[in-house]
C-alpha cells in the first residue's frame, strides 16, 4: 500500500504484495509525523536562496562602489526602480570582471585537495543550480541538522546511475544552510581516473573516498559527504529502488569516531527514477572498465537524447545527527560497535526513505 504511490511505471503492484508487513508499520508511524515538516521547510528553502546568491557582502560593496542610492536600494532588496537595476547590473559586471582578472592571472587559492572555492561558488555551482532548482525542483528538509561549525559526516543513500545525487546534495547544503557551508564529497576512485571529470571533481572539492582523506577533512572542520553504498547503490537495477545496499565495510563510522564528529544521515528521494536502469550490459562495462553499463528505456537506444535524466521531483532530508564524541578513542577499533552504528545509520536512512516515499504525491510532481 505504501508502495502504490512510489512509482507509477512498472511492477509495483507485485512488489507491494511481496513486501513484508514491516513497511506498513513504518508507513503508519510516518503518517503521524508529516504535518509539521511539510509546510515549514520550503519556506526556509526559499529564504536561504537569495542569501546564498547576493548576500550582505554585495550590499557592502554596492555602498562603496555605486554610492548611497544603490546601497539603499540593495538594502530594500528588490531591485524595482530603474536606476537601481542598472546599478545592480553594473555591480555584477564589475564583480565578474574582477573575478575574470583573478582567474587569468592565476591569483586565487586552492586547498591541498585541489578545492577551488571561488570557482565552485561562482561557476560550477551556478552551472548545476538550474538543474537543482528548475529541473529536479529539490526540496530540502532538516538542513538545521547539519552543524553550523565544525566537522560532520553526512551519510546518504546513492542512486541514479550517474552520481547526480551527490552534486544535488552539495548544492542543497551550500544554498540552504544558514552558514552557507560547503560539502566536501568523497568520490569513487573511478572519478579520479577519468580525465576532465577528475579535474572538475577536485576543483569542486571532492576527494577520493579513503579513510585518510576523510579524516583529514573532518579534522579540518569540514562537512564531508559520503555514500557508503558506492557502486552497489548507484548501479542497482530499477526494481530494487530505495532498498539500501550493504554499507561498504562501515569504514565511515570509524572515521567519524576517530575525528569525533557527528554522523548526519541523509535520505535522497527522486534520484532513483532519473535513469531507470532496466538492464546492465556487463560485457560492455568490463570492456570499458566501468563497474556497470546502464540500459534504460531510453539509453542507449535514443543516443545522447536518451542520456537526459527524467525530470523527477526530489526531496533531500537530513536526519537527526548521531553524536560520536561520547565514545572513547579506542571505540573505533571495536568491530561490534562499528557494525551496530553502521546499522543504526542505515536503518535511519532506510526508514526516512520509506517515510518520504509515502509522503510523495508522484514521482514527477
Amino acid at each position: 500500500m505504501a508502495d502504490a504511490k512510489v512509482i507509477p511505471f512498472d511492477d509495483d503492484r507485485s512488489r507491494a504484495r511481496r513486501r513484508p508487513g514491516r513497511a506498513d508499520g513504518e508507513a503508519a508511524a510516518v503518517r503521524a509525523l508529516p504535518g509539521p515538516q511539510g509546510p515549514e521547510e520550503p519556506e526556509g528553502g526559499r529564504e536561504a536562496l537569495p542569501g546564498a546568491q547576493g548576500g550582505p557582502e554585495a550590499g557592502a560593496e554596492a555602498a562603496a562602489a555605486a554610492g548611497a542610492d544603490a546601497g539603499a536600494e540593495n538594502g530594500a532588496g528588490a531591485g524595482s526602480t530603474d536606476g537601481a537595476g542598472t546599478g545592480g547590473w553594473e555591480r555584477r559586471l564589475a564583480g565578474g570582471l574582477a573575478f575574470l582578472r583573478r582567474r587569468v592571472t592565476g591569483d586565487y587559492e586552492v586547498d591541498e585537495f585541489g578545492y577551488d572555492e571561488e570557482l565552485t561558488d561562482q561557476v560550477l555551482m551556478s552551472l548545476i543550480r538550474p538543474l537543482y532548482e528548475k529541473y529536479f525542483r529539490v526540496e530540502v528538509k532538516g538542513v538545521e541538522n547539519i552543524p553550523a561549525e565544525g566537522g560532520a559526516l553526512i551519510v546518504a543513500n546513492h542512486s541514479g546511475t550517474l552520481p547526480l545525487d551527490g552534486l544535488m546534495m552539495q548544492v542543497a547544503v551550500h544554498d540552504h544552510h544558514p552558514a552557507g557551508r560547503h560539502l566536501r564529497l568523497l568520490a569513487a576512485d573511478l572519478v579520479f581516473v577519468l580525465p576532465i571529470v577528475n579535474e572538475l571533481a577536485r576543483k569542486a572539492g571532492h576527494t577520493l573516498a579513503c579513510a585518510e582523506d576523510a579524516e583529514r577533512l573532518l579534522r579540518a572542520g569540514e562537512i564531508v559527504g559520503v555514500m557508503p553504498e558506492g557502486f552497489k547503490g548507484i548501479g542497482k537495477p530499477f526494481g530494487e529502488r530505495y532498498k539500501l545496499q550493504r554499507f561498504g565495510r562501515g569504514g565511515f563510522v570509524s572515521t567519524a569516531l576517530r575525528a569525533g564528529v557527528p554522523i548526519v544521515p541523509c535520505s535522497i528521494v527522486g534520484a532513483e527514477e532519473i535513469y531507470p536502469m532496466i538492464g546492465n550490459a556487463k560485457t560492455l562495462a568490463r570492456v570499458l572498465g566501468f563497474p556497470y553499463f546502464p540500459l534504460t528505456p531510453t539509453f542507449p537506444w535514443l543516443g545522447p537524447l536518451g542520456a537526459l535524466p527524467l525530470p523527477t521531483k526530489w526531496t533531500i532530508q537530513f536526519g537527526e545527527p548521531i553524536p560520536t564524541d561520547s565514545y572513547a578513542p579506542e571505540a573505533a577499533e571495536d568491530p561490534m560497535l562499528m557494525f551496530n552504528l553502521t546499522d543504526q545509520v542505515r536503518e535511519q536512512i532506510q526508514h526516512t526513505l520509506y517515510k518520504l516515499l509515502v509522503q510523495r504525491r508522484s514521482v514527477f510532481f
Binding site: G67, G95, F99, L100, Y108, Q122, R202, L208
Partner: protein, 375 residues
C-alpha cells in the same frame, strides 16, 4: 672539537650553496666537499676532494678526514655535464651503497643526512590526496629518479638498522625551485608553451632552495631542544598550486594534449633536446602530488619561510616574462572594465570598481561564464 662535515654532490648548485653556508656555522670545524667533477663555483674554505662515490675510495676519505657527519646530496635526477641516465642511476644507487658501506665501517660517523624526494610516493589517481611520511605508495615508481630514490631510501633504512648509533635523517623534498635551480621541472616550466595533459590539473608543491639549505643545516647539526632530527621528513612549502595556476602566473600559454599523445610529445621534445620528459615527470604533471609537512613542523621543528606560492613567485621573478604575462592580461581586463563601466555612472572614475582586487564575491551570474573553459 668541532664537527667535520662531508658533503657529496658539491659540484651542483645546491651542494655548493650548502657547503658555503655550513662552513660559517660555529659548530663546524671543517667541511669536505666531494664530487666526481670539479665545481664551477667557489666552495669557500671547504676542502674539495675529487672522488667518485661509486668507488670504494670514499671510505678512505671518510677515515682520512675523521668525518663525523655525512650529508649526501648526490641523489639527483639529472646528470651534471653530460652522461646519460645510466650513470645518474649508478651514482644514485651504487654511489649511495658505497657511501653507506663506508659509513658503516667508520666508527666516527654519528650523523647522516640524505636528500631524497617526495617522488618516492609516486602519483596515482588512487592515492590519498595528501601523503604523510607513513603513507605507502599505491603504485611504486617504475623507473627513473623516483625509483632511484625509493632504492636509496631502502638502503638507508638498512644502514639505520645496522648502525642504530648513527642519527639518520631522510629529507623528502618536494620540487625544489629557486632562481638558479635546474631540474626537469624547471626545464619544463621554461618552455615557451607548456604542454599539459588534457583533462588533468595536477596539484603541485614547491620548496624554495633557501629553505632546502636551512633544513639541511638543521638536520646536520645536533637537534635543538624539544626536537628530533632523525627520521624521515617531508619538506615542502605551505599551500598548493595547480599547474594551470602556475602557467598563468608564469604567463605561459598551455596546450592540452591527450594523455596517450603526451608520450610522443615528450619523445619529440627529448629528441630536439629541449627537455627530458621522464614517465614519472608525466605522472606528476598528470596526477600531481601533495605531502603533509606536519612531521617537519612538529618533530623536526622546521617551518619553511617560503610558501609554495612564494617559492613559485621567486622562481617567476628569476625567469623572463612569458608570452602572456599576467600583467598584460590583467591590463586587458581592466581596459574592458574601463570601457564598460562609465556607461552607467558618469560621476566617478571609471576604473575604481573593476580594478579593486578586493571586489566582493558577486552573485553567480552571466559574467563569469566566459572563463569557465579556461578554468
Amino acid at each position: 672539537m668541532g664537527k667535520v662535515v662531508l658533503v657529496t654532490g658539491a659540484a651542483r648548485h645546491l651542494g655548493g650553496r650548502f657547503v658555503r653556508r655550513i662552513q660559517r656555522d660555529p659548530e663546524v670545524e671543517r667541511v669536505i666537499a666531494v664530487d666526481a667533477v670539479d665545481p664551477a663555483h667557489q666552495l669557500g674554505a671547504a676542502e674539495f676532494v675529487r672522488a667518485d662515490i661509486r668507488r670504494p675510495e670514499i671510505a678512505k676519505i671518510l677515515a682520512e678526514h675523521d668525518v663525523d657527519t655525512v650529508v649526501h646530496l648526490d641523489v639527483t635526477g639529472t646528470a651534471l655535464g653530460g652522461g646519460g641516465r645510466t650513470s645518474v642511476k649508478e651514482t644514485n644507487v651504487i654511489g649511495t651503497m658505497q657511501l653507506l658501506g663506508a659509513c658503516q665501517k667508520s666508527p666516527r660517523i654519528s650523523r647522516l643526512v640524505i636528500k631524497s624526494s617526495t617522488s618516492v610516493y609516486g602519483s596515482a589517481p588512487r592515492d590519498p590526496a595528501v601523503f604523510t611520511e607513513t603513507t605507502p605508495a599505491k603504485s611504486l615508481p617504475s623507473g627513473g629518479f623516483a625509483k632511484d630514490a625509493v632504492e636509496v631510501e631502502g638502503y638507508v633504512r638498512g644502514f639505520a638498522r645496522r648502525r642504530p648509533d648513527v642519527a639518520v635523517c631522510v629529507l623528502r623534498f618536494a620540487n625544489i625551485l629557486g632562481p638558479r635551480i635546474d631540474s626537469p621541472l624547471t626545464e619544463y616550466l621554461a618552455l615557451p608553451i607548456l604542454p599539459t595533459v588534457l583533462g588533468y590539473d595536477p596539484r603541485l608543491q614547491f620548496v624554495h632552495e633557501d629553505d632546502v639549505i636551512d633544513v639541511l643545516r638543521m638536520s646536520a647539526h645536533e637537534p635543538r631542544r624539544a626536537t628530533l632530527n632523525s627520521g624521515t621528513f617531508n619538506v615542502a612549502g605551505d599551500g598548493v598550486l595547480l599547474l594551470s595556476q602556475c602557467a598563468r602566473r608564469l604567463g605561459r600559454p598551455t596546450v592540452p594534449v591527450l594523455l596517450p599523445a603526451v608520450t610522443w610529445v615528450g619523445t619529440a621534445l627529448r629528441t630536439v633536446g629541449i627537455t627530458d620528459f621522464a614517465p614519472e615527470q608525466i605522472r606528476l604533471l598528470t596526477h600531481g602530488r601533495v605531502v603533509s609537512t606536519v612531521q617537519t613542523r612538529e618533530v623536526l621543528g622546521f617551518s619553511p619561510r617560503y610558501t609554495t606560492a612564494e617559492a613559485f613567485a621567486d622562481f617567476v621573478r628569476g625567469r623572463g616574462p612569458g608570452l602572456l604575462p599576467p600583467e598584460m592580461l590583467a591590463g586587458a581586463v581592466d581596459r574592458i572594465a574601463g570601457r564598460l563601466a562609465p556607461s552607467g555612472s558618469r560621476g566617478r572614475p571609471a576604473s575604481t570598481a573593476p580594478v579593486a582586487p578586493s571586489a566582493s564575491p558577486v552573485s553567480a551570474a552571466s559574467p563569469v561564464h566566459p572563463v569557465h573553459d579556461g578554468a
